[in-house]
Symmetry: C2
Subunit: 328 residues, 2 copies
C-alpha cells in the first residue's frame, strides 16, 4: 500500500524530526497545502502526513517552463501515493511580466480553491532561507520601511496562511528528505539570476557570508524574529483606533511619530487603500499637522484623504474627478 510505504521509516535525525513535527502538529487538522514539487514543499507534505494530517494538495502550474507540466504530474502522483485529494490549475497564459504577478496568480488560485473546497487554512513551505531572502528583498526595495520577513501566520485574501517551516533551514530540509528517502523535482528557474530573489540567494547571501560574517544568515533570521514580534506589539497598540471611521487630529498629533505612522498605515489598509507607502503615511501626517481643515490629498487606488477641522476621513474619488493634490 503506497500510503503505508510513504509514511514508514527511515526516520530523519530525531532532533530534526522533533523540530519539524512539533510545528506541523499545531496546524489545524483540516487544511490545504501548496506543493510546487520542489524539495521544500515535498518535505512539508511528508511532515504533515507523518504527523497524522490529511491535507488537500494544491498545485499551480505557472506554465513558465516547458517541463512545468511534468511538475504538475509529479505532484499529482505524489498526492496519490499518500492517498490525498489533489487539485491543480494552470495559468491561463504563459506570458508573465514579473515574479510579483506570478505570485498574485498563485494566491488567487489558492483563494479560489479555498472557497470551492470550504477550507481556509493553507500550509506553505517557506523556510528560514526564504525568510532571510525575503527580509533582504524588503530592505532593498523602496517600500521596505516595514521589512521584517514573513510571518508564521497571516490572513490574506480570506486565507489563513501557515508557514510552519519558517525557522527551519534548507540544509535541514535536505537532511530530512534524505533520511525519509523523499524525491522531488528541481526547478531550474531557481538558478536563473534574472530573478531578483535568485540573485539574493545565489549572489548576495554567499557574498555576505564570505566577506562579512559566516553567521550573517543567522543574524538576519534573529532580526526577523525580533522585528515580527515588535510589529505585532505595535500593531496591537493601534488596532482599535485604526478601526474607527476617521482619524482624530488631536489624538494623532499627541502620539509619538512612530505610533502615528503605524496607526495611519493600518487605518489606510483597513479601509482598502492598496500598497500603502511611507509617502502616503507621511502625507496624511502632514494633513494632520495643518492648522485647520479643508485640505485634501490623493492616495493610491483612487482614494483621497480629506481633512476637516477635527478629523481626517477617506473617500473614493468619483469617476472623472480630477486628481486632487496637496497643493490644490
Amino acid at each position: 500500500m503506497l500510503l503505508a510505504k510513504a509514511v514508514q521509516p527511515p526516520a530523519p535525525p530525531s532532533h530534526l524530526l522533533h523540530a519539524i513535527l512539533s510545528v506541523v502538529e499545531e496546524l489545524p487538522s483540516r487544511l490545504l497545502v501548496g506543493v510546487s514539487g520542489g524539495l521544500d514543499s515535498c518535505v512539508l507534505l511528508d511532515a504533515l502526513v507523518l504527523s497524522g494530517k490529511r491535507p488537500i494538495v494544491l498545485h499551480f502550474d505557472h506554465g513558465w517552463r516547458p517541463e512545468s507540466g511534468e511538475d504538475a504530474a509529479f505532484v499529482g502522483r505524489l498526492a496519490a501515493s499518500y492517498g490525498l485529494p489533489y487539485r491543480q490549475e494552470k495559468a491561463p497564459s504563459a506570458a508573465r511580466d514579473s515574479e510579483a504577478a506570478a505570485r498574485r496568480e498563485r494566491y488567487d488560485f489558492f483563494a479560489r480553491a479555498s472557497r470551492s473546497l470550504g477550507c481556509c487554512d493553507l500550509a506553505l513551505a517557506h523556510h528560514a532561507d526564504d525568510q532571510v531572502e525575503t527580509l533582504l528583498l524588503q530592505l532593498l526595495r523602496g517600500g521596505g520601511t516595514h521589512a521584517r520577513g514573513m510571518r508564521e501566520f497571516e490572513l490574506r485574501n480570506g486565507l489563513r496562511l501557515h508557514r510552519p517551516l519558517l525557522w527551519i533551514e534548507r540544509k535541514e530540509m535536505r537532511e530530512y528528505a534524505k533520511a525519509r528517502n523523499l524525491s522531488w523535482r528541481e526547478d531550474r528557474s531557481n538558478q536563473d539570476c534574472r530573478y531578483l530573489r535568485n540573485r539574493v540567494r545565489h549572489e548576495l547571501i554567499p557574498f555576505l557570508e564570505e566577506r562579512f560574517s559566516r553567521h550573517a544568515r543567522r543574524a538576519l533570521l534573529r532580526f526577523c524574529r525580533v522585528r515580527i514580534d515588535e510589529e505585532e506589539w505595535m500593531t496591537g497598540l493601534v488596532r482599535q483606533r485604526a478601526e474607527e471611521e476617521g482619524l482624530s487630529v488631536v489624538e494623532l498629533r499627541n502620539a509619538p511619530v512612530a505610533e502615528q505612522r503605524r496607526w495611519i498605515h493600518l487605518w489606510l489598509r483597513r479601509r482598502g487603500v492598496p500598497d500603502v507607502s511611507l509617502a502616503d503615511v507621511e502625507s496624511v501626517r502632514w494633513l494632520a499637522s495643518e492648522p485647520r481643515g479643508g485640505k485634501q490629498l490623493s492616495l493610491g487606488g483612487g482614494w483621497k484623504a480629506i481633512r476637516s477641522d477635527g478629523a481626517i476621513s477617506l473617500r473614493r474619488k468619483e469617476e472623472g474627478e480630477p486628481c486632487v493634490s496637496i497643493n490644490s
Copy 2:
C-alpha cells in the same frame, strides 16, 4: 583676518546650505566638535562656524598611520584659521586590535575632554552614508537584533552626542565643500578593505546598487528613520518600569513578547549589565516563565539574575563565586 576669510562666501547651493545650516543651528551654542580632518568633519566644522557657533575643536590621533601626525597638525591649523580653541590627544600606543577598540579610545578622549572643559555637548560628523553602513554592519553582526543605524541624539559616557548631518549624503558634503572652497585630508585607511566598514562602503553597497536596486541606499536610509522612531516609541513604553529595582514576573508574563524583550533589555542596561545580547534577554524571559522562584543565571559583566517567587532581581557576583548557570 583668518576667521572672516573662512566664513565668507562662496556659498554652497542654497538648498544644501539651508538643509545643513537648519540642522546645525539647532545645536547648543556651547559645544565640542570632533574633527578628524576628513571631508565630513571639515564640512561640519565650517557649517557650525557659518551658523554662528564657536565650538571647541577636538582631535584624537590614533597613531595608526605614519601621516596621522600631519592630520593632527592640519586640524590644529584649521581650528586656528577659524579662531577656535583646539585640543588634541595621541593614543598611548599604536597597537590596536580592532576598529571597536579604536572607537572606544576616541570616545574615552572625548569624555575626558568634556569633563576637563566642562562641556557635555559634542557634535559628530556622521552622515547618511555612514548611517547606511552602520545599519548594514549591525544587521550582519550577531547582535544586530536592534539594528537601526545611529541616532541624531544620544547619551553616552556622560556626553550628549549630536549628529546633525546624519541625513545628509556624502555627495552633498562634497558639493558643500567645493562651493565653500574647503580643504581636507584624505584618510588612506578608508580605502583599506581589511576593515569591515570599508568593505561595506566599497564592496557591499556598490554591489547592492548595481545588482539589486540603484535606490538601495535611500531605501535603507528610510528604514533607519522609521526604525529609530519606532525604537523611541517602544522604549518610551517600558522606560518607567525599567527603572524599578526588580522585574515583576506577573507583569512580564502578561506583556506581549516584544514588550518583554524591550523591557528586559532596558532594565538590564539601566542596571549596568554591559553588551546585553538577545541571549541574555531570552534567558531572563525563561527565568520569568519558570513556575516558581529559586533559580538564577549568569549574565555578562559579572552579573547574575535571581528569580524569587514574584520578581527577578540582579546582583553582582561575589569575588571568587563560581559561575552560576541556569542548570545549577
